[in-house]
Amino acid sequence: MMTNIVQFAYLLASILFIFALHFMNHPRTARKGVMAGVLGMTLAVLATWAQPAVIHHWWIVFAILAGFAVGYPLSRVPLTAVPQRTALSHAFGGLAAGLVGTAKFYLWLRNEPEMLTHFRMIAIIAEIILGFLTLTGSLMAAGKLQEVKWIPQRPVTYPGQNIVNIGMLVVAVILGAMLIFNPTGAAVWMFPVIIFLSLLFGVMLVIPIGGADMPTVISILNSYAGLSAVAMGFVLDNKLLIVAGALDGSSGLILSIIMCKAMNRSFTNVLFGAFGQVQQAKAGGEQKVYKAETIEGAAQVMEQAQLVVIVPGYGMAVAQAQHRTRELADQLHKRGITVKYAIHPVAGRMPGHMNVLLAEADVPYSDLVEMDEINGDMPQCDVALVIGANDVVNPAARHDKTSPIYGMPIIDADKARTVFAIKRSKNPGFAGIDNELYFADKTFMLFGDAKQVVGDLAKELSGGSGMH
């Protein structure tokens, strides 16, 4: 009876989770998706809790309250910190999976070793390896995104690195394999070793990867977290865990594929490419000259325009300039100028990053145009205003075979009649390469912090009456 009700609840929960993701296919229905997810999760928790086997209710209550206590603040972080938060919660996910796996293993080892069948052992090993490497890997990723002092942004590499890393994983897996075939024997000491190796591997895997590749890493870790949930499902013979885990796993996989496509790079290159080291060769190209422009000058040109395309990038996120950008657009609208936002799939530091920021600034999502669509209109575009974007508008991607970003689809800002580019310095973007767009005849630089510069532009257009 009980079993059946529980199973029934789990079935419903699985279906609700599927709908949760399904509803995300349009902003209009997306919030229904959250409802479905919450409902499913509540069902799952209650059904599990209701099982007769569960008797220590206080423990559960306290753990849950603690979860709320930490979870709520984590949900209030500024939107610019969303990437870090996501990484952090993958770490939590990995931790949970790893711990449950460990607990189950020792529990069975002590009380009912006959439970440790080959199948369950395989599942447990998978669960802990994936779980713990996700834990440390995600923590590193979060650190790099948060730009914590003692975690280097730029890739840290040393000769034979890949060999060492792979080596570690190999050892872990071999030990695991040995454990599988006699879990209860003398080899039990291997279990903690495997855990340790997985933790270490997580760190080592992420260290050599540049800060701006973190989004890809995060989604890969996302699918690992999913897979570890699946493994837990195998361990506990629980179908709901398998369904939810698989959904999570595939979503992480697909997002990372989308990103790699948008950067025209392979998983290999992301994971082992040590991408984003400062290119020494290029650093010496200082003969090229930037043409700076004044706020007034830029404002005048814009007033004359009919179509202005704003190309936001990571810089807008860093500077939190999205609201000022919206104000600027309003000023232009007032003058009957059409303003569109060109959104590159990997602009910023996570997929959809720009969309969320601009949505926060009340830009209607119908004005957010995807790269492929907008590129068609760029030739008709009078002014392209590049706000803290760099790699995603670097024409080198189109023709310079030697460039590390060669082949990455870009927004054709260089096709516009005039280009204004806002950045603070002459430093390169995350790819660590110069951007010839900035040296083009039609391009004029507006040096300074994006928020400041955009604000001034808006003010200038509103005839000095804009707030700041």
């Binding site: 799952a44 369950r120 493994a231 939810a244 999570d248």
Partner: protein, 144 residues
Amino acid sequence: MARRLAIGLAVLLVCLPFVGVVTHAAFSQTPVESTAGTTAGHEATKVDYWPLLFVFALSTFIGIGVVARVSRLLHTPLMSITNAISAIAVVGSILVTGSDFPRDIRILGAVALFASMTNIVSGFLITNRMLKLFKQEPKEAQHK
């Protein structure tokens, strides 16, 4: 291509457990007997894992199909909601924390439960918070 090889290896190794499950399954000498096993409470020794593998395969298909059609606009919220959903590990955690197990085991469980709960709460809340931001201007609203 040393790299290709490296990654190939890595991927393989990560998938290995699953490959393992299947191949082991396909060639284990032990005849499979199965179990209710549906409550962690009383599990028999052996579990018929084939249904589980079916469920895994099928839901992976669903996942890929559904996620591939998620609007590009919403990729950030997507990440955070899958985040919350993968916190389904909460189920396992509750069973470990709440059952009549030795204290040390249950402490592990409690930590896991805390971690998953954090993800559930923050994951769903922040997703909702982000989605609230996406607006559509009335004029657009019509010709949708």
